[in-house]
Structures are given as structure tokens and as C-alpha cells.
Amino acid sequence: MPTSTYEKITAYTVPSNTTTVTLSSIPSTYTDLRLVMVPASSSGTNGIRMRVNGDTGSNYSGTYLDGNGSNAASWRDTSATQFQLGYRLGINTTLTQIYTIDFQNYANSTTYKTALVRYNDASAAAGTAVLLWRKTPEAITSLSFNINSFGSSTGDFITGSTFTLYGIKAA
């Protein structure tokens, strides 16, 4: 019988407006993680931020590439205290955005963790980003998300926002 290779770890739907969503106790038994996220916020214009393992150090950075219907552009974030998911993309008040986030080899303790992000909003921008978490290498055990505007936490994830985490297992 073929080995199950692509499995759902957890699927979370926000039941009522909430400030932070955390996916915790991520097992180390897979090779890669893939998160599929359909979020919306109680307030627009702000962006989604992500933290790994609750780390609040300045260990986060990213390189972004997107198109907004007028032009293509690139941007960089350095030595931040959390990831920004998306460049020219605020979060909407309706469920019209899709994010996918891939962490390759997330459970090793030898490399910094790099993630690939695709973000999609037909009314705003389509783009991709490469994110780097530079904390002393450790396995990823939790991912937390909040809505943030330039360092201050604002807005909640609204009811119906979904976060689905998959594990991919290599031979």
C-alpha cells in the first residue's frame, strides 16, 4: 500500500473574532509543512504577521515580489521581530485572500528555516516572498498569526477565517 505522504495536521476555523491564532504542538514527523490560509480582519489596511515558536527576537527577514495591477515591485524586510506576510497587500474585511506558506525541512536543527509564501488577492496584489527565520536552528513547533500595522497590534481575525496545516513526508 502506498505511504501516505501529504496529510492534514490541523484545520482551524476562527469561531469568533480573535486577535491571535496559534497552531501549536506541530509534530516533527514530517519533512515539509504547508499552510493554507484564508483570512480576513475586523479592520482593513493592516497586514498579517507570523511568528515561529513564539520567538520575539529580531530574527525575521524576507524578500518580496509582487504585482498590483499597475506594476511589479520588490521589497525587503530585515531584522524584524516577526514575519510580514505580503508586501503591497493589506488584509481585507472579507474572506477574499488566499495565502500558502511552505516550510521545507522544518524539523531539522541544523539550518535556518526558510519559507516560501504565495499571497493572492484579486483586488490588490498577487505575489511571492521568501522568508528567513535566523534563530539558532531548531525545529518548528508552533506558528502564530496576528494582524499588525507597523509594530502595533490592531484588528482581529474575523469569524470564518481558516488556517489549514498539512505535513508532507519524504521517503
Partner: protein
């Protein structure tokens, strides 16, 4: 589980495991290339996922190449890509000239230890002998102040079924230790 689900006009639904791991190749010491060989033709698509680093000296980045079926005919390969380097977005291409197609960036010797590039590469309809083979790849690397995010596509102008895939550094001599690539088959 990623499954294919088939239902037709009230017929029974069959659920099969559609995404299967074929092979994983970790690099434990510097090696000139990684090759997935003897790839079975029984899937619909292939996907390669992993972390990559080059030993290119004196640089923070290298280019990666992809070669199919060991073919070194330079006129059989082309590549186009869109990249962002943190300050500007740009498109570029290579048409022939190399015994492989250019296929993404990876950190190199002068990049901080522990930095690896990432890739998710798809070869759709890889065993269809009526089509030239096209790959698409989402990948890149970030180095906290440098790095590239990119969307990449390559052409192998041959209709043969793909039975081997080689990933190699273009300017470096080796893929660095810690590089690891995994090949998956997706059933249609």
C-alpha cells in the same frame, strides 16, 4: 491525505493516495550535482521540494541548473524568470548556450552558514511523449539584507518521457552539504 476522488453519475467513489514520495537525496558532503534517476512513468506530474546551497566561492549567491534525461544538448534548453531582489522586480531569460536550463538562485559560500535556498519545482505531464517538457519553480533565498524571490520556468525541447532530473550549481563546483531534495509523484 492528498487524494484523487473520482465520482461519476452515482458510481462509487474511489479514494487513492495521489501524492507519493519517490526518493529523497540528502547531501552529506559537497557533491557536483544531485540526480534523480530511473523515475517511473506511472505518475502524471512530478514535484521536487527542498533546500539548496552552492559552494561558489567569493559570492553570496549562485545560479542553479536543471538537466533532464542527462541531455547536454545546449539548444534543447531555455529559461525565463521573474525575480525580486528587494529593490526592484525584473524579468530575464536564457535561450540555449548551456547544457542545462538555468533554474533559480541559491545561497553560496559567502552566505551565512545555515542559509539555504528553497524550491518547489513542478514538471507537469512529465511522461507525455506528445509534449516538450516545461518546468515551473517557485523559490529563492533571503539573507537578511540580500536575497531573491523568483518565479521560474524552463523548457526542455524534447518529447521524451522524463526519466532523470539533475540539479547542479552553474558557477560553483558543488552543491553544499545540507542540501536536500525530495522527489514526489502525483497521480492524475
Amino acid at each position: 491525505m492528498l487524494n484523487s476522488i473520482v465520482g461519476l453519475h452515482g458510481a462509487g467513489i474511489t479514494v487513492t493516495n495521489s501524492y507519493e514520495s519517490i526518493q529523497t537525496i540528502p547531501v552529506t558532503s559537497a557533491t557536483p550535482s544531485i540526480t534523480f534517476s530511473s523515475i517511473p512513468s506511472t505518475y502524471k506530474h512530478l514535484q521536487i521540494r527542498g533546500l539548496v546551497r552552492s559552494d561558489r566561492s567569493g559570492q553570496t549567491q549562485d545560479i542553479l541548473g536543471i538537466r533532464l534525461n542527462g541531455d547536454t544538448t545546449t539548444t534543447n534548453y531555455a529559461a525565463h524568470w521573474l525575480q525580486g531582489d528587494g529593490s526592484s522586480a525584473a524579468g530575464s531569460s536564457t535561450i540555449g548556450g548551456y547544457a542545462y536550463a538555468w533554474n533559480g538562485y541559491a545561497p553560496a559560500a559567502n552566505s551565512t552558514s545555515g542559509n539555504y535556498g528553497v524550491m518547489v519545482l513542478d514538471i507537469l505531464d512529465y511522461s507525455d511523449t506528445n509534449k516538450n517538457k516545461v518546468t515551473r519553480m517557485l523559490g529563492g533565498n533571503d539573507q537578511n539584507g540580500s536575497g531573491v524571490a523568483h518565479l521560474w520556468s524552463t523548457l526542455w525541447a524534447q518529447t521524451s518521457a522524463v526519466n532523470s532530473v539533475t540539479i547542479l550549481p552553474v558557477f560553483g563546483s558543488n552543491l553544499a552539504a545540507g542540501t536536500t531534495l525530495a522527489l514526489y509523484g502525483i497521480k492524475g
